[in-house]
Amino acid sequence: MKAPWLRGFTFLYLLFLYSPILLLPIFAFNASKVVSFPLSGFTTDWFVEMWNDQNLRIAAKNSLIIALSVATLSTILGIFAARASVRYRFPGKAPIMGLIMLPLVLPEMIVAMSLLVVLLSIGVNLSLLTVIMGQVLICTPFAVAILTSAFQSLDRSLEEAAMDLGETQWSTFRLIILPLVMPGILASFLICFTISFDEFIIANFLGSGQPILSVYIFGQFRFPAKVPSMLALGTVLVCFSIILLGFAEYMRRRGIAKAGGKDTGGFL
């Protein structure tokens, strides 16, 4: 039996989820400082204003540095942890893995506050580096989760076969394991990049007032005149995300096709 209200609920749910995002480009191209209907004409001024905002450029550059570093570090740490948890048995494995994964459910506020207290009390100067360290802490569990499933789907005999055919541990890792878990590595990298890029709490607490995109955008919303150019920035970020996710999905499907596996569904 079909329930017509289920269909309606799904529609409303999706509308609520995505219509605000659709409003971003509409107002970004609207020739008015006031964000409200009716629209008053088409303009690209807000994009020009955004482009010329020097502080915004610095914030964007900082955010990119942070996100790239965090994604790289988290993914590398994730590779080590996932490999260890899938392949090796060692004392205290369960609690160690549990503690690595804990930040996934730990309120970020607590992580940010306690890190701030500790860093200040041991005399570390707050900088982009402290933000990177903090965000690696919360991104690594995501990387471990994604990479664990990638390593788990790897047949152990493949490694043994490579060793049997004369390869060392390291060359086996390089020639067999790494290419086969590459889709997982890429997925982990992109997820961590995305999480870091829009992360606010740690960026705000540990950034010591350095312009970082998420913090900067939040600050700009205090000035009504700045809102339209922030919407323009939002529009650019949405497009950027769509391209990034599309690329990730393309790579993932190509990876699966290359390895001859069955598609078990990705992000899209």
Partner: protein, 366 residues
């Protein structure tokens, strides 16, 4: 004198033990595998046969004892430098490479030129019947083709020993029988020592020069297929290989070279000492194979001995019929097999029959 007796030794086990924590997986393995031999490790799952194979390959360390390959102690020798190559149960074909890249994988550090390597790959593929498959993607192959790629990949390095871990278990029955014959032919062609792990006793009998039957981490018997089938050295081995009837028996007397017994339902018989393996302290039984028993039709007479019986069960197989028969008015039931030839009717349950048997086919377990 069998095939294997006059060959040089390729692998030697000296009191090999393997522990996983408290679990004693290999309990004192001794024995030799000859060069150029098709050798099988046969046993039920969990008997240690795969563990033993993996200790030869170097994937598992041994807890104590010595494994020698071609006269060299393998202690501390890593898998990637041992003169062995393995065909894995899952075949372990590298999915991100082509067939040719898979087969040529082991040649990476080979100093030969690119052209020479390509030629070697082509030859290896031809040997396993996959000529012209080099450019195919490995993941697009069927199960049987994957197996051939795995074989070519292992054999291209010309190992002294090829290890096969249940290589046929993933194939369907027809394909399996086909590959059995192909593997035998391939082994004769390349002359490399093959060591096959299998739980399928029929497969072991068909393919091997010699077989080690393993139970619970020990080799129960190491012999050629015929000896294993005709003269198993224990009830357990007899039970594992083929079908064997066991009949409660009393040992009457024992003299040099022969044993006098009385088997329930069969009566007295004299056994050659070779058919009475060393005593294990069990209650005595004699074993006899279904095909050594024959139903006598009206006009036939037994060449050696005969016993009355009543048919309890008839199992029809087309070319053969199996009969379960109570012997000589006792509760001893034996299974016997008869070929279904024209003019010989299939008998029915409850029919009174005469069963011919030969004392020389009896094996005594005690």
């Amino acid at each position: 004198m069998t095939f294997s007796d006059d060959r040089p030794t390729m692998i030697e086990f000296k009191d090999v033990h393997k522990y996983y924590g408290d679990y004693h997986a290999l309990r004192g393995i001794n024995g030799t595998i000859k060069a150029g031999e098709f050798f099988s490790l046969l046993g039920p799952s969990g008997c240690g046969k795969t563990t033993l194979l993996r200790t030869i390959a170097g994937f598992e360390d041994i807890s104590s004892g010595v494994i020698m390959i071609d006269g060299k102690d393998m202690a501390g020798v890593a898998a990637n430098v041992r003169p062995t190559n393995m065909v894995f149960q899952s075949y372990a074909i590298f999915p991100h490479m082509s067939v040719a890249e898979n087969v040529g994988f082991g040649l990476r550090k080979d100093p030969r030129s690119k052209e020479e390597k390509a030629k070697a790959v082509a030859e290896a593929l031809e040997m396993v019947g996959l000529k012209g498959y080099g450019n195919r993607a490995a993941h697009a192959l069927s199960g049987g083709q994957r197996q051939r790629v795995a074989l070519a990949r292992a054999l291209i390095l010309k190992p002294k020993v090829l290890l096969l871990d249940e290589p046929l278990s993933a194939l369907d029955k027809k394909m399996r029988e086909h590959m059995q014959v192909e593997l035998i032919k391939l082994q004769r062609q390349v002359g490399i020592t093959f060591i096959l792990v299998t739980h399928d006793q029929e497969e072991a009998l068909v393919m091997s020069d010699r077989i080690a039957v393993m139970f619970e981490g020990e080799i129960a018997q190491l012999a050629d297929p015929e000896t294993l089938y005709r003269r198993p050295n224990s009830k357990k081995v007899a039970d594992f290989i083929g079908t064997m009837n066991f009949i409660p028996t009393t040992v009457l007397s024992e003299s040099n070279g022969s044993v006098e017994i009385e088997a329930k339902g069969l009566g007295r018989a004299t056994l050659d000492a070779s058919m009475a393996p060393p005593a294990k302290g069990e209650s005595p039984v004699v074993g006899l194979r279904p095909e050594t028993l024959t139903l006598l039709y009206d006009d036939q007479k037994a060449t050696e001995r005969e016993t009355d019986g009543v048919i309890d069960e008839v199992i029809y197989f087309g070319d053969m019929t199996y009969y379960d028969v109570y012997l000589g008015g006792t509760d001893v039931e034996v299974r016997l097999s008869m070929r279904n030839v024209p003019g010989r009717p299939v008998l029915e349950v409850g029919d009174k029959v005469r069963v011919a048997w030969s004392p020389s086919a009896l094996v005594l377990f005690r």
